[in-house]
Symmetry: C2
Subunit: 340 residues, 2 copies
């Protein structure tokens, strides 16, 4: 059994090891931010020029707003919230407005935020009506003694702090609805074959998530992640996005990370903390730490990517899928957006 | 800056070093297990001899059953489940039958399990009627493509795999009911002063959790944790127990860890993964890694403890509270239980 597993492991490694892609930079930035909008089978031939432009424009706008705030001296954690809100408000990404449907016909959204200055953090999971889950995560971080809240009770609490709710119609986009209908049809054929369905997820087109990592003028870093999870997800499934150390992590002593992909593998690999711990304890540089964590993720069979930044403004955007919606902006005025 | 940080570190270490307590062993064991039943203000004067004996007997029985199974060649992960089930079935600990009440009058239980052999893991949170949440976590690990499920939908799913449910009366113990009533009264006075209540938790008598870490004959290690959380917890609060990397972690490459305490600090410190990462990347020994992670936890203001074991059978049981229900058993036939 072990032998079979090891063989499969080697085949997987052999198949995918050449597939890791990355953009990195080492710019001694005074301040900078990096964003992602999910990784997956994002290839040029699947996009009309208009659709590609739409993604580029939205990512660009988020970066522009973020860098402007950083220029004004805003804190990393506030910029993380602001930028992710922008992406949550777009129907293009699987987070906030564009969230996919769970099997129960609801959008079950997860998000988290972490401040590298003091390791304070907040997470929400299973919220169905919060317009901006990242802001709810920030409320959990700042206004409660807790760090992780779930579901309706979490929503009721967050509303007291000014968090906006929206009804189901706000979150219904034709893209997510069609995906849901397709998944339901497929599921009928795969009824109760749950064991197999992670592969279906793993081979599906996109692992929608949005994320942002920031270095501010004060030298603090922060990270945040927000998602609608997996289309047709069941049984109250929580992914890696709200799990501190898996989908999100930030510590001034090392780096800030936001992940996207099949969350189960990112939880098993504690990927965000893994990158950070290799810097903190293993004295690796950001890019090398990222590569090693990506190798570990691949050994587990995981697909996806991450963005990370350290306190010197070094950043990396790494993925083992065909593409990842991504971009960065820095204190030198550079703004770059990439999809493929 | 670095100098200042180092100075602060020394001050902190000097201040707290007398408050951290630990038992450790380095026995080159063929197989071994370590358990905890929560940390807190556990002092001899608060116990009648009969009550102390009851705790000692229950912990001893769990250790005896576990070591017997290990002797027979059972796997680490199965022994973790078996031993934690024993503790969940006792009304003495805040897990399973003895779980405390949430503010909504329900027992909201969380648990997780992880196999160090392949980093497979499973977590459940917010389950109200599962007799043995640790077994539900094992079902999530083994029978689903997911690793983290929440609430009613999770329960409905686990039942299909033979997980037993119990109604509310099973979980109602006079201890937990009285704690709940006291907390409700206090809460009336503290209405909407949530910010303050973490200190109340932090200074409360006990942070109930049960946990187990195991090294089996095959050289594999595993960890599990189960809890009813904090008395009077609100807003769908999830603690560290179901969070892989915070309350539970296991990797043959380093160690297996189960934590207990105010979960929020363990999530912020990614404590279980922190100990493991210091071994994996920082080449620290288990005991030294544990000490450094405990210092980090204390800097954050956290109270609690953890148990950990590595693949050579070295183990540590460390806490910064007055006591921790704890014990270990090994292949040499040694069984020890301690409370204070």
């Amino acid at each position: 059994m072990l032998k079979v597993k090891i063989s499969i492991l080697f085949i997987v490694i052999a198949t995918i090891s050449c597939a890791v892609k990355k953009d990195k930079g080492s710019l001694n930035n005074n301040y900078a931010l990096v964003i992602h909008g999910g990784a997956g089978n994002i290839v040029k031939k699947n996009f009309t020029q208009a659709k590609e432009n739409e993604y580029r424009t939205t990512l660009n706008e988020a970066l522009s707003k973020g860098i402007e705030k950083l220029k004004q001296g805003e804190s990393a954690v506030k910029v993380v919230e602001l930028v992710i809100k922008q992406l949550e408000n777009s129907p293009l990404f699987n987070a906030g407005k564009g969230s996919v449907y769970s099997n129960n016909g609801k959008q079950m959204m997860d998000a988290s935020i972490m401040d590298g200055k003091d390791l304070s953090c907040g997470s929400v999971a299973g919220v169905t009506n919060i317009k901006n889950p990242i802001s709810a995560a920030r409320v959990v971080k700042d206004e409660t003694p807790h760090v992780f809240l779930y579901g309706e009770e979490c929503q009721d609490f967050c509303v007291k702090y000014g968090i906006e709710l929206e009804d189901a119609s706000y979150f219904k986009t034709s893209r997510s609805w069609k995906q849901y209908q397709r998944a339901l049809k497929k599921d009928n054929l795969l009824l109760d074959h749950d064991q197999g369905s992670i592969n279906e997820y793993n081979e599906s087109k996109k692992y929608g998530t949005v994320g942002c990592v920031v270095l501010d003028k004060q030298g603090n870093i922060a990270a945040g992640t927000s998602t609608g999870g997996l289309t047709n997800k069941k049984h109250g499934r929580i992914g890696d996005s709200p799990v501190i150390g898996a989908g999100t992590y930030a510590d001034n002593a090392s780096c800030a990370v936001s992940c996207t992909g099949v969350g189960e593998f990112f939880i098993r690999g504690t990927v965000a903390r893994d990158i950070s711990a290799q810097m903190e304890f293993g004295k690796k540089k950001l890019d090398e730490a990222g590569k090693l964590s990506m190798e570990k993720l691949e050994k587990l069979g995981g697909k996806g990517g991450f963005i990370a930044i350290d306190k010197n403004g070094n950043y990396t955007m790494m993925y083992n899928t065909k593409g990842m919606y991504r971009g960065y902006a820095n204190s030198k005025g550079e703004i770059t957006v990439s999809l493929f």
